[in-house]
């Protein structure tokens, strides 16, 4: 094909092109196209997020039980919960559990991250090991903790009593409210450290070593370097890690359910375990849903607090750090 025929062909094409049909024009219309491309996502969100959340909200305002669909009863469930000492205990437990465990996780996690940030032998191997508590399915590690806290077969008690002879009787870790709460918090911290450590380690590695070198030349002490370089530059990732960690801890279920089931006498129930206890084994779906719904304001509050309280930086508004 030579140049002339190709030209003619092009011209013919241009002349024969019909005016656009409505389908074509519709698809060329940008807002429509944007909407169309978002449909799958919207569909997924509606089916897997909005619907369950909406159903949960609806259930919380009914007296549904397992087996009976229930009727709308307004905020009756919430009014009952207001007067339910067990519910309030679960609220204070959850707040206490989240606060103490999060602080523990961040102090130890940051410390671990800074240790791992140094040049140490077998670095990759050690970092992999650190992740173990996070990788092991929580139910499995919970059962391990359950054995550790067993009043009869605890390895800790065994070492203290039978090997070291420091005490003459086994420790009753879970038998009374406060020891039980602390035991659960320790298990939660153990499980949460890797997430914090690895996330913060990633943050630490983005800090340019030249900053530390400059500080060294200026004669900064170790604490000053930590306070003036590490902490500010770590803030953005700290805020994200903190938010996620608080959310995970607040809605924790597996550890508590596997180790104490909320016992002794409901003193270690978290809101999540109490919601499950009432809704599924107890068959009071409506009441369980109401407890779960009550978690939402706390979760939103905790998220906002972490996000804006800790990381007041421009990156949150999409601008570069200065």
């Amino acid at each position: 094909m030579d140049a002339t025929t190709a030209d003619i062909g092009l011209q013919r094409l241009a002349f024969t092109r019909k005016p656009d049909g409505w389908v074509t024009r519709l698809f060329d219309y940008k807002p429509f196209l944007v909407f169309l491309c978002m449909l799958p996502t919207i569909g997924l969100l509606v089916v897997f997020l909005t619907y369950p959340l909406g159903l949960g909200l609806w259930l919380s305002m009914t007296d549904a039980t397992i087996g009976q669909p229930g009727e709308f009863i307004g905020i009756d469930n919430f009014l009952y919960l207001m007067e339910d000492p067990i519910f309030w205990m679960s609220v204070t437990n959850t707040i206490f559990y989240t606060t103490v465990a999060t602080v523990g996780k961040f102090v130890l996690g940051l410390w671990l991250a800074m240790l791992l940030n140094h040049h140490i032998p077998f670095k990759a191997f050690l970092r992999a090991i650190v992740l173990l508590p996070w990788i092991v399915p929580t139910v499995l590690s919970s059962i391990a903790w359950w054995w550790i806290y067993s009043p009869q077969f605890s390895i800790v008690s065994y070492v203290i009593v039978d090997v070291l002879h420091l005490k003459d009787h086994y420790i009753n870790f879970l038998g009374s409210p406060w020891p039980a709460r602390w035991s659960l918090i320790v298990a939660n911290i153990w499980r949460g450290i890797p997430f914090v450590a690895i996330t913060l380690l990633a943050g630490l590695q983005t800090i340019s070593p030249s900053l530390y070198e400059a500080a060294l030349l200026d004669g900064a002490s170790g604490w000053q370097k930590f306070r003036r370089i590490t902490v500010p530059l770590l803030m953005p990732i700290l805020a994200v890690a903190l938010t996620l960690s608080v959310l995970f801890t607040f809605s924790d279920f597996q550890l508590v359910y596997a180790i104490t089931r909320g016992g002794p006498f409901n003193t270690t129930h978290l809101m999540a375990t109490l919601a499950f206890q009432r809704a599924i084994p107890g068959a009071q779906l409506g009441e369980g849903a109401a407890i779960a719904v009550s978690m939402i304001p706390f979760l939103i509050g905790a998220t906002l607090l972490c996000f804006f309280g800790v990381g007041r930086r421009k990156w949150q508004q999409g601008e570069a750090n200065d």
């Binding site: 007296d63 039980t65 397992i66 087996g67 009976q68 669909p69 009952y80 000492p85 067990i86 054995w147 806290y149 067993s150 009043p151 009869q152 077969f153 390895i155 065994y158 039978d162 009787h169 086994y170 009753n172 870790f173 879970l174 038998g175 009374s176 409210p177 039980a180 104490t260 089931r261 909320g262 016992g263 002794p264 006498f265 409901n266 003193t267 206890q277 009432r278 599924i280 084994p281 107890g282 068959a283 009071q284």
Partner: protein, 448 residues
Amino acid sequence: MTITRRDSFALGAAALGAASIPIVGARAAVDDVPTADVKTPEYKIEKGASLHVIRPAKFVDPDQTIWNENTKKFSEKTGIEVKVDFLSWEDLRPQLAVVANTGAGADIFISFGADPHIYSDKLVELTDLADYLGAKYGGWYDLALLYGRKWNTKNWIGIPVGGGTGPVMYRKSWVNEVGYTEIPNDLDKFLDLCQKLQKNGHPFGMSLGHAIGDANGFSEWLLWTHNAFVVDEKGKVALDSKETIASLKYATELYKTMVPGTLTWNDVGNNQAYTAGQIGMTFNGVSLYFTLLKSPDPKLNAVAADTFTQDTPKGFSARKPQSAAPINAMLFKHSKYPNAAKEYLRYMMEADQYGVWLSSCLGYWCQSLKAYSKMKFWESDPKLKPYSGALDSPFYDGYKGPISASSAAVIANYTVVDMFASVVSGATTAEAAAKQAARAAERYYKKA
């Protein structure tokens, strides 16, 4: 005899799984069940009938194998295809709710306790079948009558298949050591026994933690021995009573004699402690005995030889203050083949099938029809005896009220268990705990 920490660790793990017990002369023809001469009902089986049956997962292997063999025999005889699903216990109730509410799925559903009463309006009445079985096999036990029939009527809504219970299990040598030949029925003496056992380092132990079977059973025993109950005949909460307070005070004294840590035990807590020799007495199902007996470890076989069983002490109750967990077969109205289903249930409850199944389960399940108590296997080991009368009791969850979803909710929420736990641990007074528990129970009873 000492068992190391590590031994008991492995044992605990073994006890968690279902133990396997051998089949003793099981499949032989059943000739030890006395029957009355009653005309067999003739159900006109629908053309092309097939059945879907759901029942709880096996306790022990024979539970499932014999059930399946019996079903196969039924299919061969009648040409009705039967599909049986064995469902884990936690999944049973949610699935049942789905089947009942959608009106689709299984024809026959075998589930625990109160379920026939919760779904009674969706079930086919089985009065003719139950009356026939009762007449032929020496009548139904009290608990079977309670669970099988609609409250205060003679209309059967379920066929009680069997149940399991947890009487006293104790180390005979240790109980003898402190001067008792058997477990006393009198509460003061029982307390005295427990105090002496504790002094000798072989204390009593029973869960008051969130152990769905053990802790609820134990706290019911504490209530019923003192003539206390959660609700009265009309289903009105009557927990806040002087009898309840007496039982709470008794429990406090008893708790002082128990091994430490029972507030944290789940359902395997006492099994582990008993196996390790840390407690000398507990309440438990027969499974623990068989785990010890069939263990490859001779030390544990010795524990089994020293283990004896007896009905739980009566206290102030006229009859054995202990319930059983009965399973009941329900036939749904949505079944297209109700006659085939009734025929299946009849067939499975007849001696040639049921007898083989029951004797192979060796006390894990106990019969609902009295004639089966005469079977020779019950005599094969004296330690099985308390288990043979599991359903011979007037007590049930939610005694004395109507059987309902409310009683099931009180059990599932550990309302009574937590009442005891909070008092024995000294966290609250008996009076306050009884009031609080009554209030919580009222919540569930109001809804029904």
